[in-house]
């Protein structure tokens, strides 16, 4: 089986794919050799996941060719992919919580071969597989009781339980600590020696340079280059990823910041204590960054201010007057806007048109007293915002689900610009957004700030938060641990505060 003449294990050429009117991949090539670790890089929304999903059979390509060992394949679903020896470890865990580790690992085989399962053998096999990976997990344990790292390991074991020829790892290390990462890499090197081809998707460039033989970079659905790791460096890869140097991403901050704070929060504490004793202030025109690790209480703070969740104590002051935000209805009433980090679930209405999305906050200004819409006024308002934010769509009647991530995010923002919000809290402003739209969103934030709006940006993206903020507050375990002025901005300082250590 291994003696095929083809040089490449996987050869994808001219792959294109669109979802509705949105083109995600345009003529992408990906060539992976036998027994190589091939890094697939690109920003969120560049099309990496879609590309590997086409390979594994989740999505069907619109155009192009996929060869496996020189033979054309057309997997129609993940089962086809698995039969061909293509296994995927996804970012979002796809385990069944209520089954045991062993059952999860062999889930795809259960019911296929025999009517009766030999449980003992199943657990024994699974245990051997996990032990061979060097992790300490009981194969009989219920998946629900595992830590997130252990779950990820089970995912990997599951992918290897097949006769795998091509292993795809989609950001496998996000939840791992350095020790686990080392173990994972050892495993990957071992698999590579066995001749398995590994496609490794990651955001961590340092990882890539440690393990990969070759990198392929995608940008906005086009492959911008494929080359041996030995022939490039971090800067080279970044340039391929974003099409310019990093510093050109961010607008120049030349805004005059007001003296008196427009918005203050004092000693805010949540009833569940996930947020405690949070105090900060924003001045008109200022962009305040909030950094911190996932789970440090950033999103919870924002939501608490916005009236989601119960407050224990604390005061919120807008324009010098104390306000009470018991619900989002109150917050919106005080002209506070909130853009959620979870765009699809909490930010936009996917099945509804752009017009219906944007108008949802601004009915007061486009309605008669009886609640009848002034349609022409609505259209004028919406079209004005579409132009201003450069939302790319054939018309304002297009459903938001058919837009790209960047344009969806602009719609989520437009909602708060259609009413004149005084304060806008933006949680992860550019998650899953392509570079072009990123720049536009940064410029937009800058412009809105210029009008005297107080802006709070929460972000995990270090270059981003340093690039757009005037000041950064770093959260650690539910409260602010430290504040960084512009001249103190560095990834190291942010990280130190995030893990509760003083800066040097």
């Amino acid at each position: 089986m291994e003696n095929s003449e083809s040089e490449y294990r996987v050869e994808m050429t001219g792959i294109s794919k669109s979802f509705g009117p949105v083109s995600v991949l345009e003529g992408v090539d990906l060539r992976v050799k036998h027994g190589e670790i091939h890094a697939l890089l690109g920003e969120n929304g560049a099309g990496k996941s879609t590309l590997v999903k086409i390979l594994s059979g989740v999505h069907q390509k619109d155009g192009g060719k996929v060869l496996l060992n020189g033979k054309e394949i057309n997997p129609k679903n993940t089962h086809d992919g698995q039969v061909l020896g293509i296994s995927v470890v996804y970012q979002e865990l796809s385990l069944v919580n209520d089954l045991s580790v062993a059952e999860n690992i062999y889930l795809h085989k259960m019911g296929a071969s025999k009517f009766w399962m030999n449980w003992k053998e199943l657990i024994k096999d699974a245990q051997e597989l996990i032990d061979s990976l060097g992790f300490d997990i009981n194969a009989a344990a219920r998946v629900r009781d595992l830590s997130i790292v252990q779950k990820q390991v089970v995912e990997i074991a599951k992918a290897l339980s097949e006769d795998t020829k091509v292993l795809i790892l989609d950001e496998p290390t996000t939840v791992f600590d350095p020790n686990d990462i080392k173990k994972l890499f050892e495993n990957l090197f071992r698999l590579k020696k066995q001749g398995i081809s590994i496609i490794y998707i990651s955001h961590h460039l340092d990882e890539v340079f440690k393990i990969a033989d070759t990198v392929t970079v995608l940008r906005d659905g086009v492959d911008t280059g494929s080359l041996p790791v030995s022939e490039t460096d971090t800067d080279g890869v970044i340039r391929l990823m974003i099409g310019r140097d990093l510093k050109d991403l961010f607008p120049v901050r030349d805004i005059e910041i007001g003296k008196e704070p427009i918005f203050e929060v004092k000693n805010l504490t949540a009833r569940d204590n996930l947020v405690h004793d949070v105090s900060f202030s924003v001045r008109p025109g200022e962009v305040l960054g909030i950094a911190g690790l996932g789970g440090s209480g950033r999103t919870e703070t924002a939501k608490l201010i916005f009236g989601v969740g119960k407050k224990q104590s604390g005061t919120i002051i807008l324009n010098g007057k104390e306000i009470k935000t018991k619900s989002p209805v109150d917050a919106v009433g005080f002209e506070i806007g909130f853009v959620s980090e979870d765009r699809k679930e909490e930010g936009v209405f996917l099945p509804l048109s752009i017009r219906r999305n944007i108008s949802v906050t601004s009915f007061k200004s486009i309605c008669t007293n009886l609640g009848f819409l002034k349609v022409d006024k609505e259209f004028k308002n919406v079209i004005g915002l579409i132009d201003k934010l450069n939302i790319k769509a054939p018309s304002c009647e297009v459903d938001v689900k058919n837009l790209s991530g960047g344009n969806q995010q602009k719609v989520a923002l437009a909602k708060w610009l259609s009413i004149d919000s005084k304060v806008i809290i933006i949680d992860e402003p550019t998650r899953g957004v392509d570079v072009g739209a990123k720049v536009e969103i940064y410029n937009l934030i800058n412009e809105v700030a210029k009008k005297g709006v107080g802006i709070v940006v929460i972000s995990s993206d270090m270059p981003e938060i340093m690039g757009i903020s005037d000041r950064i507050l770093v959260m650690h375990q539910g409260t602010f641990y430290g504040e960084l002025q512009k001249e103190q901005f560095s990834e190291e300082n942010i990280l130190r505060y995030s893990i509760g250590e003083p800066i040097k």
Partner: protein, 322 residues
Amino acid sequence: MALTIKQQLSSPGGILKFLIKYNTIFIFIVLVIFSALISDVFFTSANLTNLLKQVSGIGIISIGMLIVILTGGIDLSVGSLVALLAVIFALLVNTVILPVAILLTIIIGFSIGSVSGYLVAFQKMAPFIATLALMTIARGLGFIYSKGSPITFKSPGGEFMADFANNSTIGIPNIAIVFLIIVVLAMVMLRYNVFGRLIIALGSNEEASRLSGIKVNKYKFLVYAISGALAATAAIIVASRTNLGSPNMGMAWELDAIAAVVIGGASLNGGKGTAINTLIGVLILGLIGNILNLLNVPSYPQQVVKGGIIIFAVLLQKFESK
């Protein structure tokens, strides 16, 4: 959207796509043609009048069901509500003057709907469960107040209503006119009023609605209350048609209403559906019953055919969303 009908038809596979997109209307037209070909009686005014009268009651509660389904909920209580409110209306019409009887019945319907609305919106009860409970309670109350037997109209007001319900204006049965007015009102509200906009937004993404500052609970509450008021309107109509209110009325009507809404292309997940399509859904269900009656098909096979049509309509919609 941007394409005109003509462009859609002339693109490759366009006719098929067009038919799938407007499948509700397509099924309706096919059924009408089929009915006309198969039976001489179908296109007589007597039959059509009868058909319209038959569907009006279910049609009105279907509109209530539509607005509940648009929010992602469901209202199983409407059939039983029709029975209870028909009994209440019959009792009222025999004791107080007609306008008061009508008004009280609708207020009571609104109030009972409010109970479902309160349980769903403020107590976070699953709509299926809350309205299932209300369904049993309403049916039980119907039997209690009527002591188990139909209550006949015995007042001038009752006679007036019976006259009204059985007569036509410019060839259209009066009760069908009531139904159509409600359809038009629903269309206007869903299209041009904030109320409609917000319940559709709510149904398509409740969390995003909440975070946009929409009073989610208020609107959830209101749709059940309105559904109750519409059930009262339907109850008044069906009671007047037969000159009595019976606790056995409206049996399984909630299921027909759900079927009509679904055949009309609404999504049970909420956020998708229109009043005009629900009207067509109601007419399709009515037509099936009507033509099978004309063909002398007994009622048991009729149910089988009805079920088949529901499956067919929903399968067509799956194609549309692909």
